[in-house]
């Protein structure tokens, strides 16, 4: 039987190699001020994605000043010494381009996608943001209100919206992952203008950033423009300390009940797992797909269709730079005791711990994975972001071409092994969300 498995696995591997894996060529160098640059030249479409990734996320914040990194994602669109308030967006619109930004626990990402003849506009905008963004009282006050609206919309006013905050603070005692990216509003209120300015000067410096550009560019000419716009930007004056906090193991299961404005009981579980990029993390991703990706996934077939104990159950590992969490998010149907849903989920974990997954399931998730992986290359901005991510986290931008191999190395036995190793009761937090009035 095991012989047969390896033949199948080899065939699948062969066919995936045979279908040309995408190869992204890129150039990589560093300016004197420490700014890393990644350039991908691609003339398919006359557009260019210009992006800057800063190695600052929620985990770089002070425990009494959470939410700063995300706040900057808003603040740094307010303008600069040469860009008047509100004009940042106008420049991009008039060029027929688009732009956005996002923040995680570990980094912040800003980008524009422009017609390629507007490359210089993109470089100007991003270098202005890095060199001398406007951080003043009006901007801070305006964005403070906007961020509060965002929190009301996405967290406070959403049923189960607090689950990340509730899980994180129980799953970690030491590590900054114990708070959320959006942070505490009181911290933002209490912060002075000087604190914002010094956060900016500390983290928004060339040696803490990666400029990643993909699209219809001429590498040589682009390099010269980059030098002109970014070269004169001085290094920061402060050293950025790495976060070296190692969270001790949980040791025992943590259980709690949250009373919230929800109508249906929720079962939230979080298992401590290794950091992104480790072999075990890839195996955990495949395991989670078997459990919860698609209509034919195990959780869906069991809990949603067969027993109908749940409206929805999903499993998703979070990729984080430091060891993180893999979540199970379940919403029970009305009149269903959350413990019933929990025991069904537990049974599915036991099953995947005790039996190898079928060949058919294995090839299905590999097919899905391959499809998903291609999503990363479909657009210039996707390529720019992935190059920057791989460089920032692993110091190897070329993983954009090779990471799929790491997934494909995962065997059915690996899936069973990680299920056994990490998805145990003493390695998890379990929260029941119950409607307030029943409590």
């Amino acid at each position: 039987m095991s012989k047969f498995n390896s033949v199948i696995a080899a065939m699948l591997l062969f066919s995936s190699l045979n279908a040309q894996s995408p190869q992204i060529e890129f150039e990589e160098y560093e300016l004197d001020n420490g700014l890393k640059v990644l350039l991908h030249e691609n003339h398919t479409t006359p557009i260019v994605a210009v992006s800057v990734m800063y190695h600052v996320g929620a985990k770089n914040e002070q425990p009494d000043r959470t939410g700063f990194a995300h706040f900057f994602e808003h603040l740094l669109f307010e303008g600069s010494e040469n860009i008047k308030r509100g004009e940042f967006f106008k420049f991009i619109e008039n060029a027929g381009g688009k732009n956005n930004a996002n923040t995680t626990n570990d980094r912040t990402f800003y980008y524009e996608v422009l017609p390629s003849n507007q490359l210089e506009l993109g470089l100007w905008l991003e270098s202005e943001r890095l060199l001398h963004a406007k951080i003043d009282t009006i901007g801070v006050e305006t964005q403070n209100e906007v961020v509060k609206e965002e929190k009301r919309l996405r967290v406070d006013n959403q049923p189960y919206g607090s689950f990340l905050a509730e899980v994180n603070k129980r799953a970690y005692k030491e590590h900054p992952y114990r708070w959320t990216t959006i942070g505490e509003m009181e911290h933002l209120d209490a912060a002075t203008l000087d604190e914002f300015i010094s956060f900016y000067h500390k983290f928004y410096v060339p040696e803490n950033a990666i400029l990643s550009i993909a699209g219809d560019i001429d590498v040589l000419a682009t390099k010269k423009l980059i030098k002109a716009y970014f070269g004169p930007i001085p290094r920061g004056k402060e050293k950025i300390a790495q976060i070296n906090i190692v969270e001790p193991p949980l040791a025992a299961e943590i259980r709690d009940t949250i009373l919230d404005d929800v109508q249906l009981p929720g079962v939230m579980m979080a298992y401590r797992i290794p950091a992104q990029g480790t072999p075990d993390f890839y195996a955990i991703e495949l395991m989670s797909m078997v459990l919860s990706d698609g209509e034919s996934s195990r959780f869906n077939k069991k809990c949603v269709e067969e027993t109908q104990s749940a409206m929805y159950v999903g499993a998703f590992p979070f990729s984080t730079e430091d060891p993180g969490l893999s979540f199970v998010f379940g919403i029970a149907n009305a009149e269903v005791d959350p413990s019933r849903l929990e025991s069904e989920v537990n049974e599915e974990f036991e099953k995947i711990q005790n039996e190898l997954i079928s060949e058919k399931e294995f090839s299905k998730v590999r097919n899905m994975l391959e499809n998903n992986f291609l999503g990363n290359f479909r657009s210039m901005i996707g390529i720019a972001e992935n190059l920057a991510n791989y460089e920032m986290y692993f110091g190897d931008a070329n993983l954009i071409n090779t990471e799929l191999d790491r997934y494909m190395k995962v065997t059915r036995e690996d899936i069973q092994r990680v299920a056994k190793k990490y998805f145990n009761t003493d390695n998890r937090v379990v929260l029941y969300y119950l409607p307030k009035e029943n409590g």
């Binding site: 006359p46 381009g97 003849n117 506009l121 040589l220 423009l225 698609g294 209509e295």
Partner: protein
């Protein structure tokens, strides 16, 4: 990878020259360099023996491919069964000789592909290594569809509720009228679907349609992605080679007649507080027209962009509307000019004036150089960005083939746009913008129709219904001396079968409690969902309502003497203030209309209108809160037949409009209540039937408890 080496070289020179001149000045935004050329892949072509033309855009960046089949049939009339071709297209993937619908769905999912079918072909995308698997399924769908009766029944049912909900949707009504008026009923573009058409769409007709038109000799198969010429040829031969060619009927129609002068048309929507204005007419603007670039730039300046003439005037300057747009659109046979705006009633005629003013302005005045360069940059940018999507590339490649366009048509478009001058804009405007020969359609309240007579060349407004049939709309005069209160009190007396208002009051006083059970069914996605509703009232101040769907309480409202509130599955729990409790309670009582004055309601008797075949008094009411609504009360029976209301939307939101019709009144404990209530909220229809109404049941106060 195919790319234009010359172009790359030119770009290189361009940048180098930039660099030599480089003295960056941070205080100003850098100027864009010259618009780049587009590197569109050059399609390869081949033809199967059966006449299917295939062209392939090789793109090996990713191991994926997409296949799009287009049956290039002529548009044709479908008199008697309008919509047959769309239904046939939808039904192709509902089962084949070899596969059930669920077999097809599962097979597609397993390989992570996506596939859909339509009246003129199919589209799928997948990993290139699964190309053969998915092509085989697509071929089965194309060659062996069986059009199962039960799948057709489901789809027809869905379509019927769709048509039903049209009536109250001004945009849908406007779209139907625009088709008919612009192109005429004798042109395929002017056909609209009615209920009786659906009855004539059968499995047999679907089969016949499929076998008549789905022939390879009028087909184009567009393959974009990771496959080379030889394997693509083999794939097509294997799966589409046996597809038999055959004669396909050709159709041609006369160019629709353009409006002579200005013709104003009106669709009356009882109680509407907003008017949809549309100005349109057919134009002779074909895909590939040599003046495409200047016409598109002109069209964007006039009404395409956010900062266009129309939007800047009606929204930014006058604040009449959330947005106004307009464009000249090219087509294979008949192009069209069309512009629209939704405005509040009072400014309907002023808005028409401004829309016509802007049509004249772009003809008479040169565009400013700022406007011209901004729109050009925006278009060039958006055009370039859109090319990142493979389907855009495929569409352009197909158009080149289908419309016999020059090979480099799209590649040269950016240059052409860049070269457009203000004189060219004016030429395009004078050719395609005709404020003196156009249709002006308004869907709205007929009260404002009189003010539109001034625009019509014959000084006459034509009225239509939502099926574009002409209707007579005449106002009957109100009886002398009749007041709004008379009409409302008549209704109260009719409800209680009394002849004086005092008797009505006495009758209501005897009602100490009631309990109402209702059920509703909603058709959605081919499934029927049912909801149960229970409403209970106990004098003096207890009220409770509950809506239950699939065993869950979706929504409830409770009021008692001390507390109350609502609970909604999605939005959660809200407590009422004492003030809210008393006003809600007032609304829920059966006799609330008797005390309209005490409740701060103001009434206005507007006239007589026909609703569901009965002449009705039209009564406008405004609640204490400022909420406005319209009641339609039958002149014959005195009863309430229809109730229209509209909330005041926040900026940027569209208003929530509801129409409620009351039917089949029946007597319960001396009171007439509607047995059936048909609601329409923003085009979503819901029918509620009364299952049981108890007057003076025993209800305990404990049933009305509320935890704050």
């Amino acid at each position: 990878m195919l790319f234009n080496k010359t172009c790359k070289f030119l770009l290189g020179i361009l940048f180098v020259s930039n660099i030599h001149a480089q003295e960056i000045n941070r205080s100003n935004a850098p100027k864009p360099s010259k618009a780049p050329k587009i590197n569109l892949g050059e399609p390869q072509r081949f033809e199967l023996e059966n006449g299917l033309k295939v062209f392939l855009v090789e793109d090996h960046k990713l191991p994926q491919l997409a296949m799009n089949l287009i049956i290039n049939k002529d548009p044709h009339l479908e008199t008697g069964y309008v919509g047959l071709s769309d239904m046939m297209g939808d039904m192709m993937s509902a089962g084949t000789k070899n596969r059930t619908k669920s077999d097809i769905d599962e097979a597609i999912d397993f390989v992570g592909a996506s596939l859909y079918t339509r009246s003129n072909g199919f589209y799928f995308s997948c990993l290139s290594k699964h190309a053969e698997t998915v092509t085989e399924i697509a071929s089965d769908i194309l060659l062996n569809p069986i059009f199962p009766q039960e799948e057709l029944d489901k789809k027809i049912k869905r379509q019927q509720s769709g048509l039903k909900s049209l009536k109250s949707n001004p945009d849908a009504i406007g779209g139907r009228l625009e088709s008919v008026l612009s192109f005429g009923k004798s042109h395929p573009y002017g056909e609209i679907q009615r209920n009786e058409d659906l009855e004539n769409i059968t499995v047999e007709r679907c089969k016949e349609y499929h076998s008549t038109y789905f022939k390879p000799n009028i087909g184009y198969l567009v393959i974009v992605g990771d496959i080379q010429l030889e394997p693509a040829k083999k794939l097509c031969k294997t799966y589409f080679g046996s597809w038999e060619s055959g004669e396909v009927p050709a159709h041609s129609y006369d160019f629709p007649s353009k409006p002579k002068g200005v013709q104003v048309s009106f669709v009356h929507k009882p109680g509407a507080v907003q008017s949809l204005i549309k100005i349109f007419y057919p134009v002779n603007f074909k895909v590939g027209d040599e003046n495409t670039a200047q016409t598109n730039v002109m069209s964007n300046i006039f009404g395409g962009a956010f900062s266009s003439y129309l939007n800047a005037n009606l929204r930014e300057d006058k604040g009449y509307t959330y947005g106004s747009r307009g464009r000249v659109r090219a087509d294979r046979f008949v192009g069209q000019f069309s512009s629209s705006a939704s405005v509040r009633n009072e400014v309907t005629d002023s808005s028409v004036t401004q829309m016509l003013f802007e049509m004249n302005r772009i003809r008479d005045e040169f565009v400013s150089s700022d406007d011209l360069s901004r729109i050009k940059n925006n278009m060039i940018g958006n055009f370039a960005l859109s090319l990142e999507n493979q389907q855009t590339i495929a569409r352009y490649a197909l158009n080149v083939e289908r419309y016999n366009l020059p090979k480099n048509y799209y590649r040269d478009m950016l240059d052409k746009v860049q070269q457009v001058t203000k004189e060219m804009i004016q030429n395009a405007a004078q050719e395609f913008i005709h404020p003196d020969n156009c249709h002006i359609l308004v869907v709205g309240n007929k009260e404002i129709a009189d003010k539109l007579v001034q625009f019509d060349s014959d000084q006459k407004v034509d009225f239509y219904d939502y099926n574009a049939e002409p209707v007579e709309v005449e106002s009957k005069p109100l009886p002398e001396g009749l007041t709004a209160e008379d009409v409302l009190f008549n209704y109260v007396m009719a409800q209680t079968s009394t002849t004086s208002i005092d008797d009505a009051k006495k009758k209501f006083k005897k009602i100490k409690s009631f309990r109402k059970e209702m059920s509703a069914s909603i058709d959605a996605q081919g499934q029927t969902f049912t909801m149960e509703m229970v409403e209970q009232f106990k004098s003096p101040s207890f009220y409770k309502s509950e809506t239950i769907a699939m065993g869950m309480t979706v929504q409830s409202e409770v009021i008692n003497s001390k507390s109350g509130g609502t609970q909604n599955m999605q939005t959660g729990k809200t407590n009422f203030t004492a003030e809210e409790r008393s006003s809600k309670l007032m609304e829920h009582k059966l006799d609330s209309d008797l005390y309209y004055k005490e409740n701060g309601v103001t009434l206005e008797l507007k006239g007589i209108e026909n609703v569901m075949g009965e002449d009705c008094y039209v009564l406008n009411r405004m609640e204490k809160t400022g909420e406005k609504s319209t009641m339609f009360l039958s002149i014959g029976s005195g009863l309430l037949l229809q109730y229209n209301s509209q909330n005041t939307p926040k900026e940027g939101e569209s208003p929530l409009m509801s129409t409620v019709q009351f039917l089949e009144y029946q007597e319960n404990g001396g009171i007439l209540v509607p047995g059936k209530t048909v609601m329409d909220i923003n085009g979503n229809a819901l029918e509620i039937s009364l299952k049981k109404m108890e007057i003076n049941p025993k209800l305990k106060a404990s049933e009305f408890e509320w935890d704050e």
